[in-house]
């Protein structure tokens, strides 16, 4: 049995965690820049140490937000056949689905392509701005949780491939013109990937005000309810 008391307190350089994949208790040593930590038992990725985690992530998040606005306001692609033309934006595609009677599908498509990425980017922006001057307010943690929730649901790269397949399907019938929106989505995908790679949540957690007050020991005491402890 481990003696818990033997774990030195206030040791910020070495963290003790339980692997989210197999629940194994282990210590994460300080990582070199660009290094990763994996669980020895199940291989789950525990932590990364990206260089310049907060600044770089912030820059990429701002860029991604701008590109997101472009991607949603400019037409994605246009179609020209027999003298008739049509074009659509991202939301326009979901809207057409709604008009055609598939409301649920339209809502889910809209969520996965627009709302989830928007939510993720907005939360990240606020979090990254707030932690520049620690200690960040406690609700930042809540925002980060929301961002984590929305991350798997923002499926822009699947969207990109889907558009390409749709393009090929339609290009046989009519002339298709790729719009600015399409390139913007492509850039957005790259930027989103960049954000996920360059962001280190551990940095944020180190700077966030504790819900239960100023405690900085590796093994804390859980509180019985939300709100500040004395």
């Amino acid at each position: 049995m481990y003696n818990l008391a033997s774990i030195p307190p206030r040791c910020l350089a070495v963290e003790t965690v339980a692997c989210p994949g197999c629940d194994l208790l282990q210590r994460i040593p300080p990582l070199p820049s660009g290094g990763k930590a994996r669980c020895p038992r199940c291989g789950h990725l525990l932590a990364t140490q990206p260089s310049d985690p907060l600044d770089r992530s912030l820059a990429l998040t701002i860029a991604a937000l701008i590109v997101f606005v472009i991607a949603n306001t400019t037409p994605m692609m246009g179609l020209s056949a027999v003298g008739r033309e049509a074009n659509t934006t991202l939301l326009g595609g979901a809207y057409q689905m709604w008009l055609q009677g598939r409301e649920i599908t339209a809502a889910v498509v809209g969520f996965c392509t627009v709302i989830a990425p928007a939510g993720y980017l907005a939360c990240m922006l606020v979090v990254l701005l707030a932690v520049r001057r620690p200690p960040a307010p406690q609700w930042i943690g809540e925002l980060l949780r929301w961002a984590n929730f929305m991350r798997p649901w923002s499926m822009n790269e699947v969207l990109m491939l889907g558009i390409l397949v749709a393009l090929v399907k339609i290009a046989q019938l009519a002339t298709v013109i790729a719009g600015i929106g399409m390139y913007a989505v492509f850039v957005l995908i790259v930027l989103l990937a960049g954000i996920m790679v360059s962001f280190d949540p551990r940095e944020v957690w180190r700077r966030v005000e504790w819900a239960a007050g100023e405690q900085r020991i590796p093994v804390a005491d859980a509180t019985s309810g939300p709100g500040r402890a004395a």
């Binding site: 600044d55 990429l60 860029a63 991604a64 701008i66 033309e85």
Partner: protein, 561 residues
């Protein structure tokens, strides 16, 4: 060493920690993104064209975000909104016009909805069945920009930019002419009717026409226009006349024009010159007589069959027209008899003279009244110039007035005391059977029928003997005369056959199975049925291969058809 201690005593330089360059290169990415976004937004704003509002009574097939505005087949804008007007009676269509076409939005620009239409002039807009309706546009010439328009319900007949000229015609009635009715010059269609409207005073109809170039240069100030619709059939003292311009004119109504020979030569008429529209070609091309003299005639017989416009002839040649057929009543003597007024055109008579005589006669006709009176009086009193009613056509009973010399007629004078000088007339030869019948019956009664019968018997006996000798003669005739007769008969038969052929020929041009009109009709019908057949084949194919409409017929791939 002294140097060492010197070295050690040297003051320590202050250490200034290097300022870490806080801003890393990664910030270039959001800056770049911001620049691109601003660039796109600016470009969008700069390339925004104006928004125009067009009001239609109904906007079929016009959809926001889908329908385009096209000019010369180029998209110059797109409809952004379609909504009812405030009083719910019209449809307001808002369209965003591309920047490069913004200069076209001027006061007299016109908008209309292009959709399949069937009109007198033909079928138009069928292409929109495939491509969807669009809003057509015709440029105007004004300089004043304008952003709100009233849309036309019907596409304009002539869109701006078509070379040609517009003219105005005044007509008594519209007749069978409509918008789009063709205009012919020497049977060629050279223009169409663009619009018509009642004149301000309500007494005439103003018809606007458009003649395409290069034919518009044949319209000069002396040109005459007439209504060439339908078939012109006239049956009058001159005979039976049938005229038609073309099948299209028959159906759609049409106008024609030509320049009469007597019109002064002049350059082409300016645009919007006004002309009068005449009813028929004859009326249109009639040379206006500059000199017209009015005279009257009294007749003591029935003038039934004499209509206004009936010709007045001199020795059979037309020199005037009847202008009025009425009665004159003398209250003192209770005398009522017909009074005919007519117009005499001396020019028509003068035209028939030759050379020097024409010149002299013209001088006389245009000369002083006194001299003319003298000539007329001498003709009437010395030569016996009288008017007589004659039958123009036994079928219709139309009469006309004929002047001739009757030396044996009782002496008469021109009555100059009336407003219109009255010339003398003689009785006509129109047989009045009713009056003559009792006379005839009387005469027959007076005939010595008995004596005639006895004479007849005696004569018959002599005749018998004559006949017997004649028989002998006939046998001689057989050998000599009959062959000649036969030959004559042959000729006569041949002549009749020829006449038959001529009649048949006449038939065939009009009515027969090979008549050209019928031939045309049949050809057209054949074309139509051929077209219908090929159309059916096409729709069959399309039903089986719908995407071939866009892709074209696919190449053979993977053995799949």
């Amino acid at each position: 060493m002294a140097e060492d201690s010197d070295l050690a005593k040297l003051p320590q330089a202050t250490v200034v920690p290097g300022k870490r360059f806080r801003v890393s290169i990664v910030w270039a990415i959001p800056i770049l993104a911001a620049v691109v976004a601003i660039g796109i937004a600016v470009q969008r704003i700069l390339s925004e064209g104006p928004t125009v509002t067009v009001v239609f009574r109904s906007a079929e097939g016009v959809e926001a975000g889908k329908t385009f505005v096209k000019y010369k087949d180029v998209n110059i804008g797109q409809v952004t909104a379609v909504q009812l007007s405030e009083d719910y009676s019209q449809v307001e269509v808002k369209a965003k016009i591309a920047k490069h076409a913004a200069g076209l939005m001027v006061e007299d620009a016109r908008f209309w909805v292009v959709k399949p239409r069937i009109a007198l002039t033909g079928i138009s807009g069928l292409g929109t069945l495939l491509s969807g309706n669009y809003i057509g546009f015709a440029a105007g010439k004004s300089d004043h920009p304008r952003r709100s328009f009233t849309g036309l319900e019907v596409p304009p007949i002539v869109t701006g930019g078509v070379p040609g000229r517009q003219f105005l015609l005044h007509a008594d009635t519209l007749g069978s002419v409509g918008i789009g009715s063709p205009i012919y010059y020497r049977r060629l269609p050279v223009g169409e009717v663009v619009a018509y409207d009642l004149a301000a005073d309500g007494k005439t109809v103003d018809i606007k026409i458009f003649v395409h170039s290069p034919y518009d240069k044949h319209v000069n100030p002396g040109t005459r226009f007439w209504n060439a619709s339908g078939i012109d059939v006239s049956l009058n003292a001159n005979g039976f006349d049938v005229r038609t311009e073309s099948l299209a004119a028959l159906v759609a109504g049409g106008l024609a024009f030509d320049t009469p020979v007597f019109a002064p030569t002049a350059g082409p008429a300016a645009a919007d010159t006004a002309f009068t529209l005449y009813g028929t070609r004859a009326v249109a091309m009639k040379q206006p007589e500059t000199v017209a003299r009015h005279y009257a005639l009294f007749f003591k017989e029935t003038v039934r069959g004499l209509s206004i416009g009936a010709p007045v002839t001199l020795f059979g040649m037309p020199v005037g027209e009847v202008t009025d057929v009425g009665l004159t009543f003398d209250p003192a003597t209770l005398d009522i008899h017909p009074r005919v007024e007519f117009t005499f055109y001396p020019e028509r008579m003068v035209m028939r003279l030759s050379g020097k005589q024409e010149v002299a006669a013209q001088a006389l006709a245009a000369g002083s009244e006194q001299k003319r009176y003298v000539v007329l009086r001498r003709l009437v009193e010395e030569r016996g110039l009288r008017a007589q009613l004659k039958t123009g056509s036994l079928i219709t009973g139309q009469l006309y007035v004929a002047f001739d010399f009757y030396p044996s007629a009782p002496r008469a004078k021109i009555d100059w005391s009336q407003d219109t000088p009255v010339l003398p007339s003689v009785e006509s030869l129109v047989p009045d059977l009713e009056a003559k019948l009792p006379e005839i019956v009387d005469k027959i009664n007076k005939l010595p029928l008995q004596a005639i019968a006895e004479d007849l018997k005696k004569n018959l006996e002599t005749l018998d003997q004559t006949l017997k000798s004649a028989n002998k003669l006939v046998s001689h005739v057989d050998t000599d005369v009959v062959p000649e007769l036969k030959g004559t008969l042959e000729e006569a038969r041949r002549a009749m056959a020829a006449a038959e052929r001529v009649m048949k020929g006449a038939e065939s041009t009009l009515v027969g199975p090979n008549a050209p009109t019928q031939q045309e009709l049949r050809d057209t019908l054949q074309e139509v049925s051929r077209t219908a057949r090929s159309l059916r084949v096409l729709t069959d194919y399309l039903e089986r291969h719908p995407d071939s409409l866009i892709r074209g017929k696919p190449e053979q791939k993977f053995g799949r058809q």
